[in-house]
Amino acid sequence: MIEPSWVSALSALLFIIGLGGAFTRKNAIIVLMCIELMLNAANMQFAAAAVHHGDATGWVYTIFAIAIAASEVAIGLAIFLAMYGKHESISLDDVDVLKN
């Protein structure tokens, strides 16, 4: 079995890649993907901790986080569709006000 410490290190790397992408990219879909990457890194950490401690609570957290991420993606993509209909662009530079 893979050691939880390796899984944990991989999740840290994924989190940093996601954080860097969310900070530096301007395309809204790529930013959303980077946020998902960070969420999945956290999920990996929860799973590794669940295996390490022998407690299923970490898995419960993971399932909850996956469900919340799915809701977030649904809402995010819907917002991007509405944004494209309005501005004909999904660049985050073009959207600087919340008012429609």
Binding site: S5, A67, A74, A78
Partner: protein
């Protein structure tokens, strides 16, 4: 602006290195448990200890799906006509 970008990149890199070194340290993962979690244990935990949050999560997902469907609604004339069963003149 370039200086700010550089500082951000250096900060991210150092944060990554700190995270990897802290999380993969042996002392963090020293006292491991012998009993591995099982799927029946997971089901038991979710349906007993976490039953109410699971219900709230279901409601949240329903609300999210309804909200997403509302946000992407298409109000073009031909779609409205089709939806209400009318015919275009």
């Amino acid at each position: 602006m370039k200086f700010l970008s550089l500082v951000t990149r250096i900060g991210l890199l150092s944060l990554g290195m700190i995270l990897v070194s802290v999380l993969s340290a042996d002392e963090v993962w020293a006292d491991s448990s012998d009993n591995a979690p099982t799927t029946s244990g997971l089901a038991d935990t979710m349906l007993n200890e976490w039953a109410l949050p699971l219900l709230v999560l279901g409601i949240l997902m329903s609300v999210a799906m309804i909200g997403a469907a509302y946000l992407v609604r298409d109000e073009r004339r031909e779609n409205l006509l089709w939806e209400f069963g009318g015919e275009e003149e």
